[in-house]
């Protein structure tokens, strides 16, 4: 029998003082040991900072899981070109909702991380590419950057180190594809956000064809804690290959949706246990481990360790740790149709497999959902998804194929039910947040 309550597994670091009144201010951040890591880092040689972050084992939190320190190490030094750090704050992957609350409540953790990262890679100009559709976060970033300049954490000769850094906050204009790092760079250069052919990789030719590191918000915001508390502390959480803490975002038909910060490798069962499970009276049907682009899981996967290796071994990807949970009232065909419409809408049009493939996937999915599909359509669906997956210019195409493949794998019978029954057997009203409450209760 058990032992420790599941919530003791949590380890809030970035979220540790989000409930502080005025948590977003420089004062609050400093009261919580903010900018102490910067002092430490500026006393280290830049290469030593890179080595330290590399040794910590920090991996990218934006989806791909690439080792952060290694990305920094790829920047050629002594090349005489300007170097840039670009923070990817274009959080748009369906289900993903960690960077936006992080920046709203604790923007200085990102700014401190930026200064440390730029010191390490010898960059004098950094950019935060924030998706434009989140104005409250933009306000707080503007203010945090202003505070950081005024306090001498940005600008000329930072804290007497002789190191100069400019930081520009840049608001995007509504395009999911700009979360792809090379599309983001094109967008930041004032172009249509379309992915670039690689190589050359951004580390060699990135922004303005200069060496550039593109990192996710959470990756960079994790750096100050690693420097301040030590890589051993960081490595004491998670596993050998997936060390450290991270933000898990629980959403959907769960009793208590929200942000849960803890060590990598926690399971959905543990998160649901502490969060009170699914909403009362319902059971888990399917879920995404890291946004809609990661193949969906079912209740068979509740004990999969949510780290890079664990989720990969179970046939999906850790992605952004966006745990969208759907209960038995949800039609999987409807869910996948909507995601497919999203990918078709957001396909940038640059490459044929994705542009054409996502269009045809939508036509087939809509027909099947509406009860107008045929059994051959399921093979056609699979075939088209197969022609998009791995054959597109960037990962958006793979993302579009993922919900289709995985839903066909686990719920083929439900597709067939739509075809044989000439319609959807589900009542969408039962899935709503207010389905189990009376309307008057909602109004109250």
């Amino acid at each position: 029998m058990t032992v420790e309550p599941a919530e003791k597994l949590l380890a809030p670091v970035l979220s540790a003082f989000w409930d502080d009144p005025r948590s977003w201010t420089l004062d609050t951040y400093r009261r919580h040991e903010g900018y102490q890591a910067l002092t430490k880092a500026l006393a280290m040689a830049p290469d030593d900072v890179i080595a330290y972050v590399k040794d910590s084992g920090l991996r990218g939190r934006g989806g791909a899981g690439f080792p952060t320190g290694m990305k920094w190490q790829f920047i050629p030094q002594g090349d005489g070109k300007p170097h840039y750090l670009v923070v990817n704050a274009d959080e748009s992957e369906p289900g993903t909702c960690k960077d936006i609350p992080l920046l709203f409540a604790n923007p200085h953790s990102l700014i401190e991380g930026i200064v440390i990262a730029c010191w390490a890679i010898r960059s004098n100009h950094a950019f935060i590419y924030l998706r434009g559709e989140t104005v409250p976060v933009l306000r707080r970033l503007h203010e945090a950057v202003r505070e950081a300049y005024a306090a001498g954490y940005l600008g000329k000769n930072i804290k007497g180190s002789g190191f100069d850094l400019e930081l520009t906050v840049h608001a995007g204009a509504g395009a999911y594809i700009c979360g792809e790092e090379t599309a983001l760079l094109d967008s930041l250069e004032g172009r249509r956000g379309q992915p670039r052919l690689r190589p050359p990789f951004p580390a060699v030719e990135g922004l303005y064809a200069c060496p550039t590191v593109v990192n996710n918000v959470e990756s960079i915001a994790s750096v100050p804690a690693i420097i301040h508390r030590g890589k051993e502390w960081f490595r004491s959480m998670g596993s050998e290959k997936s060390p450290g803490f991270t933000l898990y975002s629980l959403s959907g038909h769960v009793a208590r949706p929200g942000q849960y910060e803890g060590p990598l490798g926690i399971t959905l069962r543990q998160l649901l246990e502490m969060g009170g499970g699914m909403r009362p009276g319902h059971r888990l049907k399917f879920w995404t481990p890291g946004g809609s682009s990661t193949p969906m899981f079912t209740d068979e996967h509740l004990d999969v360790p949510l780290d890079y290796e664990g989720v990969g071994a179970a046939g999906s990807m850790l992605g952004t740790k966006a745990l969208q949970c759907f209960d038995e009232t949800t039609c999987v065909v409807r869910a996948v149709t909507r995601w497919t419409e999203f990918y078709a809408h957001e396909s940038c049009g640059k490459c044929t497999p994705c542009r054409e493939g996502t269009y045809w996937l939508v036509q087939l999915m809509r027909d099947i959902e509406a009860g107008k599909g045929h059994h051959e359509d399921l093979d056609k669906l699979y075939d088209i998804a197969d022609n998009v997956n791995g054959k597109s210019f960037c990962a958006l195409g793979d993302g579009a194929a993922a919900p289709i493949f995985s839903s066909l794998k686990y719920f083929r019978a439900e597709y067939e039910e739509h075809i044989d029954g000439r319609g959807c057997p589900f009542d969408p009203a039962r899935s709503t947040a207010w389905a189990d409450k009376s309307r008057t209760e909602v109004n109250a």
């Binding site: 840049h170 509504g174 959907g252 069962r269 502490m274 499970g277 059971r283 809609s292």
Partner: protein
């Protein structure tokens, strides 16, 4: 606009801004351009900026951006038509966007969007006759733990219902003050566009407004601190106890 057959080919050249407006915008544009090592990077913020003038991307806008950045109007048009936040036609003072990506849609976003269309008597991407509200469905806005979500001028309205959303648009139309769940009191679309261009919101208290993290953002933190009891897992209805996947808390 009238009964003429439009071939979609605009008259050239596009009209310029009045001299005073142009001087003011050029001044702002210089400030935006100075933020970047390469001037073309200023194009996205400039398109936000000029939307704060006329509320949408007009031919005058395209011409202005091309001139200040030394681009062709075709290059500017290519960018302006790629991004969904740039409007192609006159729109309302308040842009009401209902998230209908999968999670919000399932949690009630579809119902909210449907009821708002009926309530306002307009369809997707249409504006009320009084010019107050433009309604549209939007993609995932990174607030899934607050689903279903509605955005108004890109401020968060969390945990919405059809009733709360209808009451909110009624308030917007009646000119009553509307406060988002997280964020500052609503300003008009043009003022929002200026913030997006990188000019900080100068309204008193705008940064502080709305307070700290929303309740869902604090879910894990409060549990960890023991400030809320870990919730009890309830077995599902119509399921024999013991088969529930979320119920094995005492295994």
């Amino acid at each position: 606009m009238s009964g003429e057959v439009s071939l979609g080919i605009p008259e050239m050249p596009a009209p310029d801004y009045p001299a005073d407006v142009r001087a003011r915008l050029e001044n702002d544009a210089r400030e935006v351009i100075a933020r970047y090592p390469g001037s073309r990077s200023a194009l996205l913020p400039l398109l936000h900026l000029v939307q704060s003038e006329e509320g949408y991307v007009t031919r005058t806008v395209i011409r202005f951006c091309a001139e200040v950045l030394d681009l062709t109007t075709a290059e500017v048009t290519a960018v302006a038509t790629f991004y969904t936040m740039y409007r192609r036609k006159p729109s309302g003072e308040y842009q009401v966007g209902v998230c209908t990506n999968t999670l919000c849609a399932v949690m009630g976003g579809d119902a909210i969007f449907e009821e708002l269309q009926q309530h306002l008597g307009i369809g997707n991407d249409e504006t009320t006759a009084d010019g107050k509200v433009t309604l549209e469905h939007i993609e995932c806005n990174a607030a899934c733990d607050f689903a279903p979500v509605v955005m108004v001028n890109w401020e968060f309205f969390d945990n919405q219902t059809p009733e709360s959303a209808k009451a909110m648009v009624d308030d917007l139309i009646a000119g009553r003050e509307v406060r988002p769940t997280r964020g500052a009191p609503l300003c008009g679309y043009r003022q929002t566009a200026r913030i997006l261009a990188g000019f900080p919101d100068e309204r008193e208290g705008a940064v502080e407004a709305g307070g700290g993290a929303g309740p869902a953002s604090l879910a894990g933190l409060k549990l960890h601190r023991g400030e809320v009891a870990a919730a009890r897992v309830v077995p599902p209805r119509a399921e024999p106890a013991g088969t529930d996947v979320t119920e094995e808390d005492g295994e």
